[in-house]
């Protein structure tokens, strides 16, 4: 077991290093520099700042100092927001984005799976048809339209929930709902197909022949085997949700990492972008690693022992 874990750790570190390097050089290819943006006509100030941040040194020297910073887990200072360290930004805003993501997952995933199971078990019924139809419609509507519409209906007309900011729990309800819609429809559809596939296996007929109750057959045998494939891509999905949705955070003005991602790229803020990308890479790799172990626990055939 430990040999496997060491091997996986090595691969993960390699992946993170590769992500950091590729992103570093890709960013440098983008034309323009962050300081021209702040005051376009002032070339002198731009050069002064470039020197200040050491961006005028040869590229490989910058890369080495960047790697050195990476090893000490210090992502440096943001270029556009003067005086703000990337680590502080992540430390302050990642919890908010993560909370939104986790809440959407906690609401969306179980509900999605439940709907998927129910529409598979009571196949052909109203619920089944309803779920299929709604998941088609909900994937059709783009998220920024969905967010705007939900905000107007629940926030402005019905006044059930506050429409913006991230102060109390009540503020988190509307954004979580909007974000979880995508999760629900996705899981519902895939779980239904998996349940139907497992439904045709022989061991279900054996279970029924044993005379155990239908509920136990479905829960103990059918769901247990159907949920396995769902776990594999759960890792990527959790990582995706943790890194936040730019559009939801923009519409509900939530101080999350989403906005930082987009603005730091368009604003060519190299240190901020690299910091966020490497941070995301760590989460993705960690999520995949945990999911693989989890998968081993549930499916004995894959168990790494």
């Amino acid at each position: 077991m430990t040999k496997y874990i060491i091997k996986r750790l090595l691969i993960s570190l390699l992946t993170i290093w590769a992500v950091a390097t590729v992103c570093f050089f890709l960013l440098r290819l983008l034309p323009g520099n962050p300081f021209i943006l702040q005051n376009p006509l002032d070339m002198k100030n731009a050069e002064k700042m470039m020197a200040y941040y050491g961006l005028d040194r040869p590229l490989w020297e910058q890369y080495l100092s960047y790697l050195d910073g990476l090893i000490h887990l210090d992502f440096g200072y943001s270029l556009t927001h003067v005086g703000r360290s990337v680590n502080a930004v992540i430390a302050q805003y990642f919890p908010i984005t993560a909370q939104l993501g986790v809440q959407a997952l906690l609401l969306g995933m179980p509900l999605g799976l439940l709907l998927g199971i129910l529409s598979a078990v009571r196949r052909g019924g109203g619920l089944d048809y309803g779920c299929q139809l709604s998941s088609v419609v909900l994937t059709a509507i783009p998220s920024f339209v969905l967010a705007a519409v939900m905000q107007l209906i629940f926030g402005v007309y019905l006044k059930w929930f506050p429409v913006s900011q991230w102060l109390s729990f009540r503020h988190t309800i509307l954004p979580t709902l909007v974000l979880s819609i995508g999760v629900i429809s996705g899981h519902c559809r895939s779980m239904r197909t998996l349940m139907l596939e497992v439904g045709r296996q022989d061991y279900l007929k054996t279970a029924k022949a044993k005379g155990v109750s239908n509920v136990r057959v479905v829960v103990f045998h059918q769901i247990r085997n159907a949920i396995l494939p769902m776990i594999t891509n759960m890792g990527l999905e959790i990582a995706g949700m943790l890194m936040g949705s730019y559009i939801i955070e923009k519409v509900f003005s939530i101080p999350g990492l989403g906005a930082y991602f987009v603005n730091s790229i368009t604003g060519l803020d190299y240190t901020m972008t690299l910091g966020l990308v490497v941070f995301q890479a760590v989460i993705v790799v960690a999520a995949n690693f945990i999911v693989d172990l989890l998968y081993g626990l549930i499916d004995p055939r894959v168990r790494v022992v």
Binding site: T206, A207, N214
Partner: protein, 347 residues
């Protein structure tokens, strides 16, 4: 009529599909006595699996539908029972083992857990007690060190071992009828013999009666006390195995027996084979199902379904050749002699 353990009368089962109704079972009659093994034989697709699965009501009702007929067990017509009521019978009164042992066990749970589940569904037993019963059953089916098998996962065991587990599981609540749906087809010959051995021993010890389904005549010859040959959804010939093997009366049975290589030394003649394929049960033929492939086909065979003729001692044949008015005198093409069934003396 004498008190049979299980009696199926005029059973009609059909499946509703998109392109129409498949009449899988078209009037099947058979009975099973205590401690007896009934062999159900026929080509694949003749409806034998559907028949036994209908006995246990394993097929979900909406697609499957019991059109007519009754299945009487201990005086109760279980064809009319609801699924909930039927659950008490499954596992306790009848239990079933399937053909492909590789996929008949839940791959993600341990053997022991799956066996305990069945016991605790029917009897109030504590975990510890259930464990002992299971381990005893596992040793009865001849599995070495059953304690470890109890803890193992299905994928760590071979096909033969898994089939033994299935048998142990099926018999753990000592049901009165064990239905074996081609239990040995997926196994190679040596393992096949061992499994049959185990089933016979357990039959004697637990006095369970067995319905044995197969398309392999050699296997059924050793197992079955009585035989029923199915073709196109009907039982065309049934009776004691000696009658069927030595005095077959139905052309299809002749063909079936003729296609079996015999163990006698000399080079066997060309094996008989029956030309054509079984009819499509979407539109079953008006008359006898075998008409299109039968050499002695008569007009009546095409137009009318042959009734069951009793040729004595429970040997029933559903074929117009048996009708007194039929003049054609037909001798079975195969001169079967005694040693057809190795180790079983002719009466």
């Amino acid at each position: 009529m004498s008190e049979h353990l299980l009696e199926v009368k005029n059973l009609h089962v059909s499946f509703r599909t998109v392109i129409g109704e498949v009449k899988a079972v078209r009037g099947v009659d058979f009975y099973l006595d205590r401690g007896e093994t009934l062999g159900l034989v026929g080509e694949s697709g003749c409806g034998k699996s559907v028949t036994v699965q209908t006995v246990m009501r394993l097929n979900p009702e909406p697609p499957a539908e019991i059109k007519e007929g009754s299945i009487v067990y201990q005086g109760v017509d279980i064809a009319k029972l609801s699924d909930k009521e039927m659950r008490k019978y499954r596992g306790k009164e009848f239990s079933m083992i399937f053909q492909d042992a590789m996929t008949s066990l839940n791959p993600t749970t341990r053997i022991g857990k799956q066996m305990k589940e069945m016991l605790q569904a029917h009897r109030k037993v504590s975990d510890q007690e259930a464990r002992e019963i299971c381990i005893r059953m596992l040793s009865m089916v001849g599995l070495p060190n059953p304690e470890t098998v109890y803890e193992r996962f299905p994928h760590t065991m071979s096909g033969g071992q898994r089939q033994r587990v299935m048998i142990a599981m099926a018999l753990s609540c000592n049901p009165s009828i064990l239905i074996a749906d081609e239990p040995t087809t997926a196994l190679d010959v040596t393992i096949q013999a061992q499994i049959l051995e185990v089933m016979n021993n357990l039959k004697r010890e637990l006095n369970t009666s067995i319905i044995f389904i197969t398309h392999n005549m050699g296997v059924v010859a050793r197992m079955a006390d009585r035989l029923a040959v199915m073709y196109a959804g009907q039982i065309i010939e049934s009776g004691k195995s000696e009658d069927i093997f030595y005095r077959p009366k139905h052309p299809y049975t002749w063909g079936l027996l003729g296609s079996m290589p015999s163990l006698k030394g000399e080079v066997p003649k060309r094996l008989l084979s029956i030309p054509g394929t079984p009819p499509d049960l979407f539109a079953p033929p008006k008359g006898c199902g075998f008409a299109s492939r039968c050499e002695h086909c008569m007009n009546v065979c095409v137009n009318r379904v042959p009734p069951e003729y009793d040729v004595g001692d429970g040997h029933k044949v559903r074929c117009w050749l048996l009708d007194p008015r039929c003049k054609a005198d037909v001798k079975p093409p195969i001169g079967r002699d005694q040693e057809l069934i190795p180790g079983k003396e002719a009466e």
